[in-house]
C-alpha cells in the first residue's frame, strides 16, 4: 500500500515538474518579480544570468553563499569586510545564510537608478545601523570610519577621527541624543545627496545588454 502511495507521489511530482518547466523560465516566476521590483521581465531574466554566474562559482547549487558573494565583489574569497557582511545580511531577508534569486533581485532593485529614493534611504540606514537597534550610534560610525580608512591603508589619529565624527553628529543629530535615527538620517541625506552615491548602480540600467544570452535560454535549471 505504501509503495502504491510512493509511486503516486513520484508520478505527481514528475508531472508538476513538467508543468513548471512550461510556465516559468527559472525557479521563480519572472513576471511576479518584475511586478514587485523596478525591473522589467527582460531585466529579471538578464539578472538571472548574472545570478547563475555568481552562484555557481564555488558550489553549483543555484544559491549564493557568503564566499561566492565575496568572490564576486572582491574577486577573491580571502577578503573579509565588515561592509560586505552588512550588505550580505541585508540581502538575506530569510536569514538563512544564503541568497536565493528572489532575495538577490529584490535587494538589487533598490540600487536601480529608477528605484524610489525612500527605498535607498531605508536600505542605507539599515546598512549603517550595525547593531540593528533602529538608530546609528556614534560608536558604530567610528567603527565604520576606521574600517574604511584602513582599507586604503590610512590610519588617522584618534583625535582627528573624533573631530570628524563630532562635526558629523553636530550636523546630523538634530535631536541631540547622541544617536542618528531614521528621520535625522533622512534629513541629512536630503541635504547631502552624494551620500547615497553608492546606493545607485548605473550598470543595472544596461543589464540586458551586459547579459543578452537570456534570450536564447531554452533549458530550465532544476533547483
Amino acid at each position: 500500500m505504501s509503495e502504491c502511495i510512493d509511486g503516486l507521489r513520484h508520478l505527481f511530482s514528475s508531472i508538476l515538474k513538467c508543468c513548471d518547466l512550461e510556465q516559468s523560465r527559472g525557479p521563480v516566476d519572472p513576471e511576479l518579480l518584475a511586478r514587485e521590483t523596478v525591473f522589467s521581465v527582460s531585466e529579471i531574466e538578464a539578472l538571472y544570468e548574472l545570478f547563475k554566474k555568481i552562484s555557481s562559482a564555488v558550489i553549483d547549487d543555484g544559491l549564493i553563499n557568503k564566499e561566492e558573494f565575496q568572490l564576486a565583489l572582491f574577486k577573491t574569497n580571502k577578503k573579509e569586510s565588515l561592509f560586505a557582511d552588512r550588505v550580505f545580511d541585508l540581502f538575506d531577508t530569510k536569514h538563512n545564510g544564503i541568497l536565493g534569486f528572489e532575495e538577490f533581485a529584490r535587494a538589487l532593485s533598490v540600487f536601480h537608478p529608477n528605484a524610489p529614493i525612500d527605498e535607498k534611504i531605508e536600505f542605507s540606514f539599515q546598512l549603517y545601523d550595525l547593531k540593528q537597534q533602529g538608530f546609528i550610534e556614534r560608536q558604530e560610525v567610528k567603527q565604520m570610519v576606521v574600517a574604511t580608512l584602513a582599507e586604503s591603508g590610512m590610519n588617522l589619529s584618534d583625535d582627528v577621527i573624533e573631530s570628524i565624527i563630532d562635526k558629523t553628529f553636530e550636523e546630523a543629530d538634530t535631536k541631540h541624543d547622541g544617536k542618528i535615527d531614521k528621520e535625522e538620517w533622512r534629513n541629512l541625506v536630503l541635504r547631502h545627496p552624494s551620500l547615497l552615491k553608492n546606493m545607485t548602480l548605473q550598470y543595472l540600467r544596461d543589464i540586458t545588454t551586459t547579459f543578452p544570452s537570456f534570450v536564447f535560454h531554452s533549458q530550465v535549471d532544476d533547483t
Binding site: 521581465v41 527582460s42 548574472l50 555568481i54 564576486a72 565583489l73 572582491f74 574577486k75 569586510s81 565588515l82 561592509f83 560586505a84 557582511d85 552588512r86 550588505v87 538589487l108 540600487f111 546598512l127 549603517y128 560610525v141 565604520m144 570610519v145 574600517a147 574604511t148 580608512l149 582599507e151 586604503s152 591603508g153 590610512m154 590610519n155 588617522l156 589619529s157 582627528v160 573631530s163 570628524i164 565624527i165 562635526k167 558629523t168 550636523e171 546630523a172 541629512l188 547631502h192 552624494s194 551620500l195 547615497l196 552615491k197 553608492n198 548602480l201 550598470y203 543595472l204 543589464i207 551586459t210 543578452p212 534570450v215 536564447f216
Partner: protein, 203 residues
C-alpha cells in the same frame, strides 16, 4: 521578449522619411548573421557615410575644458562620505569582470595643504605636456595632443575632511582608458608618492 525575437530574426521597419541610402546601409548593419553582416571598413566606404563626416570629432569634455566651474563651495566630507567610499559598499564589481587595478578613479589621503597637492599636479602637467586649469580645490589636466579617443583629460578634486587631512580624488575626464592608466602609473603616482598619507608613528 518580442523585441529580442525581432532582433534575432532581423525583423524591422525603417520610418518612411529615411533616405534609400540610409535604408540600404541599415539593412546591412542589422543582419543577424555575423558572417554576412557589413564590416566597419565597408561602412566607412558607403556613400551615405561619406556624405557628411566631421573632420575632427571633438568630444563635449574637450569643449568644456575651459569652463571649470569656480562657483560652488566644495562640500566638506562628513563621516558618512568617508564610509560611502568603502570598497565593501561598492557593488559595481558584481557586474564587471575588471580587476581592481583598472578602476578609473584614484583616491588617496594626504596631510595637505591643498596648495601642495595643486603644485605637485602642476609639476606633472608641465612634465607631461598637459595644459592645466585650476581653482582652489579642483584641477583639470588636458593633453595637448589627441590620443586614441581624443585628448586625455584628468580631473582632480580635493576634499577637506579635517584640518590636517584631505582626500584627493583623481579620475579620467576624457580619452582612452589605457592611456589614462599608463599616465597614472608612469607619471602621476610617482609624483604624488611623497605626499601620500602615511600612518602617524605610534606614540
Amino acid at each position: 521578449m518580442v523585441m529580442y525575437r525581432k532582433i534575432y530574426r532581423g525583423d524591422f521597419k525603417c520610418p518612411p522619411w529615411f533616405s534609400s541610402e540610409a535604408r540600404r546601409l541599415i539593412t546591412k548593419l542589422l543582419d543577424p548573421n555575423p558572417a554576412t553582416r557589413i564590416t566597419i571598413p565597408k561602412v566607412m566606404e558607403s556613400s551615405w557615410f561619406n556624405k557628411s563626416v566631421p573632420k575632427v570629432l571633438v568630444t563635449k569634455a574637450e569643449m568644456e575644458f575651459d569652463k571649470l566651474d569656480k562657483g560652488n563651495e566644495p562640500e566638506t566630507l562628513n563621516a558618512f562620505h568617508i564610509i560611502s567610499l568603502s570598497e565593501g559598499f561598492d557593488l559595481s564589481p558584481l557586474f564587471q569582470g575588471k580587476k581592481m587595478e583598472e578602476k578609473e578613479e584614484l583616491r588617496f589621503g594626504t596631510a595637505g595643504p591643498a596648495s601642495c597637492v595643486i603644485s605637485r599636479l602642476e609639476e606633472v602637467a608641465k612634465a607631461g605636456k598637459f595644459s592645466i586649469m585650476k581653482t582652489e580645490t579642483k584641477v583639470k589636466l588636458q593633453g595637448l595632443e589627441r590620443g586614441r579617443k581624443g585628448k586625455l583629460a584628468i580631473a582632480a578634486e580635493i576634499f577637506p575632511v579635517a584640518p590636517s587631512f584631505l582626500v584627493v580624488e583623481v579620475r579620467k575626464d576624457n580619452g582612452d582608458t589605457l592611456e589614462y592608466n599608463q599616465f597614472c602609473s608612469k607619471e602621476l603616482r610617482p609624483a604624488l608618492k611623497d605626499i601620500l598619507w602615511t600612518s602617524p608613528p605610534p606614540s
